[in-house]
Symmetry: C2
């Protein structure tokens, strides 16, 4: 029998918590017989759920970190919140990973402060896998570090390459630096310095990646500072959302088109599904001592389920340990 | 009779120059009887065209700036290139504006060095009008200044607000700062400082704009540094291109869908046309002494035509003068 993988799950995270989280957790448990969950949250939520689901235990917590709170302050003062307790379970070895769809800032702060940074990691990084129709694209940092030093991007490249190989299954990831031209000398002073360091220290580095190259999957991994990465990620999501709405509008613009729209609806729905961020269930935080995925606040049950599956995959692949080796090589 | 507006046009700019430029120029002259063009380029190109078109004069130039050349060096050494000569015609008052689909860097350098910066302008800025299906959105800087000081963004906001009012026709433009959260304290140290300055000095400033807000047209004007703006613009274009391809793929995925696709084709083509960057014909450079639009290297004749029309609109609206007033107010 395979060894069980135990994950801590934040029952309170997300706009429609706890209902959405419970539904996703139940699905994940059903699909993965080697998975065990420690569900963190208020007694009235976690105890009945644990009682009625195999391989689930309840971890009662008494505090809650709301979306608007100052992350570091909240983590320091609310020691019995579901986010802090979930991270502590990982720190203490009672769980191998943590999933939450709660406040990104609070999860970042708790994972960094409570689980702790992996040795040699200057800044943990938030990563996303873009579901491009061409091929999946790993991008980081997407918001953990608004202000970066060029050295951080070297580590982001090292950490994201491990993730691309071990979790996304890209055998030889090509790393690109997000920049405003393909030539070496292009870009801000910061980007030029990053280019130099990446060339010297990251064998996977393959050059500059322009905005238009991202979804074309010209690179498997795109590294950037957390400000540009976050703007870029939200721009991609926003552009896709506006365009899908416009396509839908164009499809019902005339009676003939309306008839045609019925015929193409299946294909479009399938495409929208493939392009959905739900596939990966959230953004992994790399560079901390444990598997950690932060789901979108508006996560659906499917997104929660997939987020839990991916957290388990990170834990089973010993990705945090491989990352710690990669940054000191 | 209305007064003629004279524009200098670079016959050599663009991937398919001079053919595409000549076709667009001929169309523009036909559509606008108050327009006169000074066509800059090699004798064998500009003289036959000028001879066969009303209101067009030839300005023979003997040098050419290629796409890969170092912009500032090329502008300094190739004084008789079509780009430098076109800008000099504006400087000398023989033309009110300049249009080129040539090297963006060379056009930026020539316009700044030869026409000169408007008094009080720290850095001229490259602007774009995003053809969002919701409403047009003005964004700047999109690549002229990879490294910015927060003070520059104050001027970008002032200049772009004038452009939004006078050229795009938005009576009361709302300005947003591209950032990674809606709250005031969000973002990089740079973004936070920009937020402070914009709040204090730009009455049109309405808060932070996230990546997902851009195409939703939550703001009429989006200001950012030229690195983030360029990445963002190319990301929007790339996302739209990849998605349209994927939608097309989905539409022919089954025989029934194929039939439906025929019926919806008209609507989609119309939508793609509306979302095309061709509509505005290029990126205006604001903060120099004269109207100046830099077209895309891959401009079509329609894009060249529209770029010339917009350059004329900028000149007629005395936008460069209004901008000079706005930055010193």
């Amino acid at each position: 029998m395979a060894e069980k993988t135990t994950l801590a799950v934040d029952a309170l995270g997300g706009d429609d918590a706890p209902a959405v989280v419970l539904e996703g957790t139940a699905e994940a448990l059903k699909e993965d017989p080697d998975l065990a969950i420690v569900l963190c949250g208020p007694r009235e939520v976690v105890e009945p759920f644990a009682a009625s689901h195999e391989r689930c235990t309840a971890q009662v917590t008494t505090e809650e970190i709301a979306m608007g709170e100052h992350p570091a302050n909240a983590v320091r003062t609310k020691k019995d919140s579901s986010i802090v307790v979930g991270c502590r379970l990982v720190k203490e070895g009672q769980a191998q990973g943590f999933f939450s769809a709660g406040s990104t800032g609070a999860c970042l702060a708790a994972a960094t402060l409570v689980m702790g940074r992996a040795k040699g990691v200057a800044r943990p990084t938030l990563l996303t896998v873009l579901p491009s129709p061409v091929a999946p694209v790993v991008m980081c940092d997407v918001g953990a570090n608004a202000d970066c030093k060029p050295e951080y991007l070297v580590q982001f490249a090292q950490m994201a390459s491990v993730y691309a190989r071990e979790v996304v299954g890209i055998a030889e990831p090509k790393v690109g630096l997000l920049n405003i031209g393909s030539e070496e000398a292009k870009g801000s002073a910061f980007a030029q310095e990053c280019h130099k360091l990446l060339s010297a220290r990251v064998p996977e580095f393959a050059g500059n990646c322009e905005g238009g190259d991202i979804l074309e999957a010209r690179f498997d991994v795109v590294v950037t500072d957390g400000f540009t990465g976050n703007v870029c990620l939200k721009t991609i999501e926003g552009t896709a959302s506006v365009l899908f709405k416009a396509v839908k509008g164009a499809l019902v613009s005339s009676p003939v088109a309306k008839l045609g729209a019925l015929a193409v609806k299946g294909g479009l729905t399938e495409l929208k599904g493939r392009l959905s961020a739900e596939t990966y269930g959230g953004a992994p935080l790399l560079g901390v001592k444990g598997a950690c995925i932060i789901g979108h606040g508006s996560s659906s049950p499917t997104a929660v389920k997939n987020g839990i599956h991916t957290t388990a995959k990170i834990a089973r692949g010993r990705v945090p340990e491989l990352i710690a080796q990669a940054v000191v090589r």
